[in-house]
Amino acid sequence: MGTRPDIPPGTLYMLILKTLARLGSMHGYGIAQHIHQSSEDVLQVEEGSLYPALQRMLIKGWVVAEWRQSENNRRARFYSLTPEGRKQLTQELTDFDRVMSAIVKVIEAV
């Protein structure tokens, strides 16, 4: 099976927020799938971290949830962003860019 790289700590929220920003509203499985596919099968979100993270985001008010029929007629809980969630996403992206470019600088400096 091989080792799968872990999602860097602290970035899961950002990934979920970004996914929801792109897809509008989606259920948990869809979110995990989307992250998996758009990362070209590199990132795999474990259910054990996905659902607790979603609950945490509900508490923080970044997302809201509603029960709807899914595309194949199953009842599913769909999550979507709140304005606060959008703000949080911008914030996290900015922070991530700064950290990332800093890391790149460190790595590429010979």
Binding site: H27, G28, Q33, P52, Q55, I59, K60, R74
Partner: protein, 706 residues
């Protein structure tokens, strides 16, 4: 804030949450199985993790753990009882004994800067010739010789006036019991003579009136007395107007000058004087030879001395300063070569915890007890460890079930830890009870023949805490090890076990646990054996003490003390009183006989005096002749107390000297033994009657079983 509100709301919609989460996860699972990816895994754990986002999870789980712990305890009552009892005994015994040790050996006197106080002692070989008379206690030193802390008055005056190392030097002396009349019937009270510097040197303030001061050292001063705060409160109603009243002590008139500060009980925790009198107002009868003798005789050692170090002076410096002075003085009092060859040498001892008759006496027994209590705690801990290990083995199946149902490992470990801690806390609470009861029992054992015993023993919370920590550590270590072990269980295998707790031989880790258990059992048995053997020795010792042949029948004897002399009766009148009392007692129905003695047989003192025996030549000047412990007794004492096989009076005298040999009078023959040397003997203080002359020794108390 918003988060908190959301969580509070969650508390009320918990069931909805559970249902929705469950459904959501099923949805996920369904989609997943359609897409042929990995199975969802541990749904319960996932649910728990998701749920934990919403709750005050730590406290809720703690409450759950505790509830579950209680259920586990109730389910296994024997285990719980064993664990709690062994912990309670271990913690309780340690706390009780250490509290006692602290009170007896370590705690300071309730005075100002007790660490500055020093006690003056001198060390003598067996018996120093220059010390021709001694009134006080002496202690055998382990290395031979003995320590005496009584000095002649002249030595005190010299050191008090000339030393440069002490800011004050003061003397005291126990009077024994006096007849005290304050405002009602006479009572017997323990009294103490003190010099004028006593209270100021100790730094004890008055609670009312004034205390005995330097002016009271003048021979012409009005006789005054100071009482303890407790006595003032109990007998005088804490009435300030009691100060200035006239009281009578052994028939003599004193003025009550003041009351000492609360808590002050003197300098010796095993004497509890209630009244303090100036040294110069010593009570004695004129018949005893006059006051000058006791204060002027340079060979009579009687006053006990304490001093307070000057600031910056250390104990060795003070000792160097005083020892030379005392040595020169004592050398000047030696008149013969024999006396010069064997002089006492002064040494200082820290006095912060008081004059330590009690401490010396109980030092060793308490250390022995302390050691045994430590062993008991060790056994208790080993016991607990063993019980926990045994239980962990038997709960493997339970652990496996919990893990298979999705319990987190940390959660399971925490559960076991919580149970261990609950046991330790229960044990500690019970241990506090055992300690409190133990202190009372020990005090009773130690004091059954000491009337006044001022050791203020409270439960020592630090020790209780210490024992508790040890118990907690044991609980955690031995609760944790099997917990870690148990959570490593191969779930399926453990579930397949037909019987719960069946050990599996092929697992190394489990073999390690079992060999640990075996080691614990072995050490427990070894320690217990040690304790049992020691206890056996003590019991045997006790039995032998009870079966010592006393030479008389000790059954059905009632004892009491009285002293007509102290009530002001003359010697002649006292004799008439005693004779009359004897007659009246004899006339009582049920009384077989009654008699009197100045010393209680096999009691805690004896009076030794020189004797001359016809046929033995008188000793040369400066030599000691034969001496004997003498009791002055009323008629019938020997007859009434004698064993059947030794009926009749028996005179026995011992010859002290190079060849200590004893001669016995023939049975049934009265042998006249004249008592006393011709040489001058000083007066003895009140409380000791002396008719024949001679020196008085009060030995340290006979050994009591403990």
């Amino acid at each position: 804030m918003k988060g908190l509100l959301a969580r509070l709301r969650f508390l009320f919609h918990r069931n909805d949450f559970e249902r929705e989460l469950e459904e959501e996860l099923r949805h996920h699972q369904a989609l997943q199985s359609e897409h042929q990816t990995t199975p969802l895994g541990n749904i319960t754990l996932l649910k728990e993790d998701s749920r934990s986002m919403w709750t005050f999870i730590f406290w809720e789980q703690l409450a759950q753990d505790i509830r579950y712990g209680f259920r586990a305890m109730a389910a296994n009552k024997l285990f719980t009882a064993m664990a709690v009892i062994s912990l309670a005994l271990g913690i309780g015994a340690n706390t009780a004994i250490y509290s006692l040790m602290d009170a007896i050996l370590l705690r300071g006197l309730p005075v100002r800067n007790p660490e500055e106080l020093v006690i003056l002692n001198h060390r003598v070989k067996d018996r120093v010739p220059v010390m021709q008379s001694h009134w006080g206690d002496s202690y055998q030193e382990p290395g031979g010789g003995q320590t005496v802390r009584n000095f002649p008055w002249a030595a005190y005056e010299l050191m008090r006036d000339n030393n440069t190392v002490l800011s004050s030097l003061f003397g005291h002396m126990a009077v024994g019991r006096v007849n005290l009349v304050t405002n009602g019937p006479a009572e017997m009270a323990e009294a103490q003579y003190v010099t004028g510097g006593y209270f100021s040197g100790l730094g004890v303030p008055p609670a009312a009136g004034r205390l005995i001061g330097p002016d009271d050292d003048n021979a012409g001063a009005t006789p005054v007395a100071v009482v303890t705060y407790d006595f003032w409160r109990a007998r005088l109603g804490a009435n300030p107007s009691a100060v200035g009243k006239t009281i009578r002590i052994n028939g003599a008139t004193f003025t009550l000058a003041g009351v000492a500060a609360p808590d002050f009980f003197g300098v010796s925790p095993n004497q509890k004087p209630v009244i303090f009198l100036p040294m110069m107002k010593m009570l004695y009868g004129d018949k005893d030879g006059g006051k000058d003798a006791i204060f002027s005789d340079k060979h009579y050692y009687w006053v006990e001395l304490m001093g307070r170090l000057r600031p910056g002076v250390t104990l060795p410096q003070a000792q160097a300063g005083l020892a030379g002075m005392f040595h020169n003085w004592v050398a000047s009092t030696a008149t013969t070569q024999r006396e010069r060859d064997d002089l006492p040498s002064l040494w200082l001892q820290e006095g912060g915890s008081g004059v330590d008759g009690l401490r010396r006496e109980y030092f060793k027994p308490i250390w022995v007890l302390m050691g045994m209590a430590g062993l008991i705690l060790a056994i208790a801990c080993a016991n607990i460890a063993n019980l926990l290990l045994a239980r962990a083995a038997s709960r493997r199946r339970e652990m496996a079930v919990r893990l298979s149902m999705g319990a987190g490992r940390f959660r399971v470990i925490r559960q076991l830890l919580t149970e261990s801690l609950m046991l330790a806390i229960l044990g500690a609470v019970a241990g506090a009870g055992v300690a409190a009861a133990g202190i009372r029992i020990l005090l009773r054992l130690m004091t059954y023949d000491v009337n006044e015993f001022t050791v203020n023993v409270g439960l020592d919370w630090r020790v209780l805490g210490f024992s508790l920590v040890i118990a907690l550590i044991t609980g955690i270590l031995f609760g944790l090890a099997p917990a870690l072990q148990a959570t490593k269980v191969e779930v399926v295998e453990a579930l397949k076990e037909t019987r719960a707790g069946q050990p599996r031989r092929h697992r190394n880790s489990f073999r390690a646990v079992f060999s640990l258990r075996r080691a614990l059992v072995v050490s427990q048995i070894a320690l217990s054996l040690l304790l049992v053997a020691a206890a056996g020795l003590f019991v045997r010792n006790l039995a032998q003490l009870h079966s010592v042949a006393l030479g008389f029948n000790s059954e059905k004897i009632l004892l009491f003390n009285l002293d007509a002399g102290k009530a002001g009766y003359s010697t002649q009148a006292s004799k008439r009183v005693y004779a009359e009392l004897e007659n009246r007692f004899r006339a009582l129905p049920g009384v077989v006989s009654a008699t009197s003695s100045d010393i209680v047989l096999v009691g805690d003192g004896s009076s030794t005096t020189g004797i001359t025996v016809p046929g033995i030549p008188k000793p040369a000047e400066g030599q000691r002749g034969p001496s004997s412990a003498i009791a002055q007794v009323g008629p019938h004492l020997l007859r009434d107390h004698a064993d059947s096989d030794s009926a009749g009076p028996r005179a026995r005298c011992e010859r002290r000297g190079r060849s200590a040999q004893s001669r016995r009078g023939q049975r049934g023959v009265r042998q006249e033994i004249p008592c006393g040397h011709e040489s001058h003997r000083p007066a003895v203080p009140a409380g000791w009657r002396q008719d024949g002359g001679g020196s008085y020794y009060r030995r340290s108390r006979p050994q009591r079983p403990l």
